[in-house]
Symmetry: C2
Amino acid sequence: MSLDSFHAVIPAGGAGTRLWPLSRASRPKFLLDLDGSGRSLLQQTWDRLLDLIPAERIHVVTGVAHAAAIKEQLPDLTGLFIEPSPRDSMPAIGLAAAVIGAGDPEAVIGSFAADHIIDDQIAFAEAIEQAVAAAGRGLISTIGITPTGPSTAFGYIESGELLGIDGATSARAVTRFVEKPDAATALAYVADGNHSWNGGMFVTRTDTLLGHLARLQPGLHDGLMRIADAWAGDDRQTVLDEVWPTLTRIAIDHAIAEPVSLEGGIAVVPGAFAWDDIGDFAALQDVGAASSPSTVWVDADGLAIAEDGTTIAVVGLHDVVVVRTADAVLVTTREHAQRVKEVPATLRDRGRDDLV
Amino acid sequence: MSLDSFHAVIPAGGAGTRLWPLSRASRPKFLLDLDGSGRSLLQQTWDRLLDLIPAERIHVVTGVAHAAAIKEQLPDLTGLFIEPSPRDSMPAIGLAAAVIGAGDPEAVIGSFAADHIIDDQIAFAEAIEQAVAAAGRGLISTIGITPTGPSTAFGYIESGELLGIDGATSARAVTRFVEKPDAATALAYVADGNHSWNGGMFVTRTDTLLGHLARLQPGLHDGLMRIADAWAGDDRQTVLDEVWPTLTRIAIDHAIAEPVSLEGGIAVVPGAFAWDDIGDFAALQDVGAASSPSTVWVDADGLAIAEDGTTIAVVGLHDVVVVRTADAVLVTTREHAQRVKEVPATLRDRGRDDLV
């Protein structure tokens, strides 16, 4: 299957509040080199896609606040969509679909979060090729990541019958998307072999996506088409500023993926690669983030990151997480890593937006 | 009992390694305002003694490294003894005793650590008066602090019969000094009413102390007398530099207090005041040190101090201790507070003397 008309769309938003104080509203997770690779998560996403398609077909959708930083991190990026305000993932991906589809009606787009880690490029490329093949049949494809354990941190995709698609021999129908499960349910999911992790990757022809949108979210569809019609003209910004604030705030999962899965319109292809959304500091440690070398551990272990190069010492605590930035220190444990998001929430309540 | 010939000697040494990173070799515990009172522990010790005797009779013994900082903190100090190198408490107190005794053979000296906290000035003064009265009889007096609980962090003084001394009606003979006990022993000590905490305060006529020293540590005694003889002359520094490095390194507890107690030469008078040596961060919290007001606690509690005014956030940890300075972070728990001293030891091993 050819990727000649395949475009990638990277919605780059979300602060990553569970990675505070590394991740901030002004310096979100996707702009950070969290795994010490020398490339930010966004740059790694870009690199992964650039291995498959030319830079001209990789698009980023982001807010005004991060446009400059993204341009700096991705100097070869030509397709930057700047949202006047955050309206969640459906308007972001829908805008890209409408604009790309106007230029190339045969185009297939794939959306890829800016802040995920994928380890096996060959397996990633294989999954994309199958997903694009299934999308050619008018399905919306998603990539179901092969679970490495009964994680309760991710949503799951339940798969049904094999669809028998040329070039997508592993594609199955999605019977439903399920939210983050409890531990017992996760264990059952992994055991039955019919569930994979939902990495939020969707691959679809633009006409397929826009068709579903016209039916399921007609107001949103019409707004996006108005913007797309004006995109090439002089009044792009005027129309964008006028229409954008009226668009429904909704995630693509709720707007399209879940309802269409119930109609049999979603295919899942296996993604047999290491993947993580680095949702919290426990996940960051799991993907191999190392403690600062100057850390002193006395009867202690965990993850200790001193962003400013100072020395962290831990005495008598295990599975601890300590993060120091120029203006803050976080101390927690792997077990409580998900609750870190309560810290920026508390700081915001106290009027300390400078720390959020 | 008059305090007219009473002199106070404050040995100001010891880094306080269990209070790292607040306390450093270059900025030891006694120079710090640890309880937020606005006065360092040394200044509080000075204030407490100045309430009893004039500044001219309050002496400080310290090393070269801290002389300037001490002069700055105590502008009215006239009696500063500067040791060429640290030789533990017996040479420090012995030097002061020899020099003061040369000027005033009737003088009684009391030694008081520079880094302890005492809360009740009236009870402190009462204890000093009784100790000085007993010292007038040729005894070495110590103040036995009334325990507020079965602490395992302090040494204990076992007391025997009442000595029946005028002006020191509560003075008893010390039968022995005991090291920090285990929990069961501490409980028994507190229950029997014959044990008090050893705050390391000794009150003695200079001739009494020097007499014991001549007998028990003759080499040390002779060295100190040589220095004292030269003290008022032009060759003070020459003799000090020559003799000091030859003096036995020993604590007054081992050199004098323990052996003399076995001979019946030590009296203990009760100190019915709140006292603490702030030996670690648990003790610091117990004496009322407050967390930085900007701290964010999420299902967490303990002591969090950001010396540089930044924000500390703790999620899901209880009885935790977090201390941030410009160059370091310490994370531990109350339970492990005594082991903090292993951190500067490790840093020294790594050649990071800049952090110690």
